[in-house]
Symmetry: C2
Amino acid sequence: MRTRLECVPCFVRQALEAVRMTTDDQAVQEEVLRRVLREVSGMDLRLSPPIMGQRIHRIIRALTDNPDPYRAAKERTNRLALVLYPEIRDRVRAASDPLEMAVRMAIAGNVIDFGIGNRIDEETLRRTIDSMATAPLDGDISAFSHEARAAKSILYLADNAGEIVFDRVLMEELGPDRVAVAVRGRPVLNDALRADAEAAGLVGLVEIIDNGSDAPGTIIEECTEEFRRRFWGAGLVIAKGQGNYETLSDATRPVWFVLLAKCAVIARNIGCEPGSLVVQRSATPGPTQAIAL
Amino acid sequence: MRTRLECVPCFVRQALEAVRMTTDDQAVQEEVLRRVLREVSGMDLRLSPPIMGQRIHRIIRALTDNPDPYRAAKERTNRLALVLYPEIRDRVRAASDPLEMAVRMAIAGNVIDFGIGNRIDEETLRRTIDSMATAPLDGDISAFSHEARAAKSILYLADNAGEIVFDRVLMEELGPDRVAVAVRGRPVLNDALRADAEAAGLVGLVEIIDNGSDAPGTIIEECTEEFRRRFWGAGLVIAKGQGNYETLSDATRPVWFVLLAKCAVIARNIGCEPGSLVVQRSATPGPTQAIAL
């Protein structure tokens, strides 16, 4: 999806929040903000918003001289999510439709998002889990279940640290033998890296690959050749979270988007209300539709 | 007061809201936003926030080719406030301390502020009037009353259209013979101009002067010589609203600030909670204190 004018103030606000989480040095905060303003002033709005996110976080890492400012925050949210993992898993096992409940739990994990500036705690996460267990789903969960069961291989594009523990219950439910999880190749924001997949207990459960990129989303053209091969070859692609939606909504292969629509611009693009739990396949004809045609 | 880093995302958000109120042409909206981003990226943060507001609205007026984009909105809020004027006046007359109640009503009018993006309606205004009639005042209303009664001349720096009708009840209570009201010299945002003072019924009640400037505040150095003479010579200066506070908080003559602290940065600078009804004299020693020393 392209960038909307509403995204512009949001970039600036997010840049300020991000640099404040990263350093207390006001001179650095000010310089980051000035560079971000110049960068945004020349942005091509046909590009998707995470491309600006990528540039903003490159500026922050360069000017703070810190290659991974969110490392501690990511470790904290991984630990927090692991505390809740047994409850989430039990909730899925006890559900009348475990796959649907696993999708709901994966969406609940999507509230862990430092891009929107929140500082998540255990209490908030528990409330989110409870509410997402029963909230209406926007999309076609039965088509998702059908395609997921039929797929020979599933590529799961992870989103954030901490959240990836919630994704684990969905991967377990999908049948982990068929699943490969893809994380970002280099640090950006609190997005999950290989270390977070490992912390989430995914080693030995699913194959872990990385996409080689430092975008807070999946910009196919700049991912590794190996990642692109896997993306185009997978029987089913699950893209988790807003960043992956923003960068893949116009992809020319079918993709299942699983996310909480936190941003009004994204919700409008999807065609849902802000706050919706989304399980939607991209508009591109998928294999099932292709056969039906 | 100087500009804080928190003001930066707010400038960009306000610029987008303002240009959207002004034109539906997306190309113009985009170009305004790009120019504002460049302008803000080079801003001297030692300057007060309304200086950036002034530049933003100059950009909007130039690119939309509209010398007064808020004209209709200002007329609408003047009419709306005039509907409520008899009630406000009666409330002041019936109060045990009419001057204090008039200050409260003037503060209630300060919710009419298109800079913070709201679209005010009669119902909201009535609720505001009710709540401001009894809410705690932050500052020293008895010192204000004492100085106001003693002053030989009062210069009242108006803020917005519509709001100026609420200011009228305070001017009436102060004794209009001693009062001159100063409006902006040229259009900026929904700030009151001479036409709005006239619409508010101030002709023949108080002297109306303008400051010659298009800043959404009072930048003394760029006001007319006549205005500056009046400013330095007045027995008492009342500066209404946030923009006047931001530009005059460091003035070297005493000024009474009367405003609703809507913005967190301004509230912090004043030393009050956001949402406070403020009646405070500037930190600079006033004439009373000067005599006492």
